[in-house]
Point group: D2
Chain length 91, copies 4
């Protein structure tokens, strides 16, 4: 079973916190808050997103690349998926 | 007038697109989509967030640091706010 | 055999290009070049570093996590090493 | 006088430390050190580079955008240069 299903409620809670932070930017714009407040809210979303990404990558490695029950083809596919994401991050 | 007020509708549209992308992660988790789909949705949110951040920083520079009508103290404050955000990004 | 040994000459060439780019910043400072030139040279080093990092991570995944001849403990160690690096990148 | 000239020796020291860290990667490859050591050395170069970049950006803002003696055209040029670098970072 994929880790995103195993850890579904934990990940959903994390994504909903992230959504709440994006909504905080929306509300700051609607309330015409000072621009530096909007900038700082945006920087905090980036931090939360990085945390979510690190967790997803780590779970992906353990569940889809390292898990003992995987066969070679499954391991290879899990590795290719991770490499694509790493490239998009480091391009 | 702050650029986040001048450009309010444009910025709101951008933030709501970003919120939609975060909701897409939420929906992918709820629908138990494959993990690499969740990873790629997360990477696309990062791209959208970077775009929003670049736009906010650019507008901040033009409106709160460079604008001719600003006095020295206002320019200094605008610069300090930007430097704080840059440091949080590059730490 | 580790990929950093298998790909030694290719990686050395890449690292030496990176060193050359850092030396270009050094020379620009010594020659008192305009500051935006120094800033742009610095940004180009970041791009080269990201490329090197992506290559090292990809090779690490293939050589120390996915390779068929690895046993479970070796796979686990390779995964832990990668997760540490990913966390340092995404913190 | 540009900040890269005013702070020349401080910046040179910082760039030479960065060069030393890149040389440490080179030496690790030459000495066929374990791959995770090479990966961690690469991550530390990124941290040092981020620090250098943040310092250059901060000095650029103070010296080429905010400084009271600048005229509007100089401020505008300084801002455009910074925006180009920010875009390259956040693309």
């Amino acid at each position: 079973m994929s880790h995103t299903i195993q850890n579904k409620s934990k990940l959903l809670a994390r994504v909903r916190r992230l959504k709440g932070q994006v909504e905080a930017i929306e509300n700051a714009l609607l309330a015409e808050k000072p621009c530096d407040e909007v900038l700082n809210l945006t920087a905090s979303v980036r931090g939360a997103l990085s945390g979510l990404t690190a967790e997803l990558m780590e779970d992906h490695i353990r569940c889809h690349i390292v898990a003992p029950e995987l066969d070679e083809a499954e391991r290879q596919q899990g590795a290719n998926e991770l490499i694509d994401v790493i490239r998009s991050y480091l391009k």
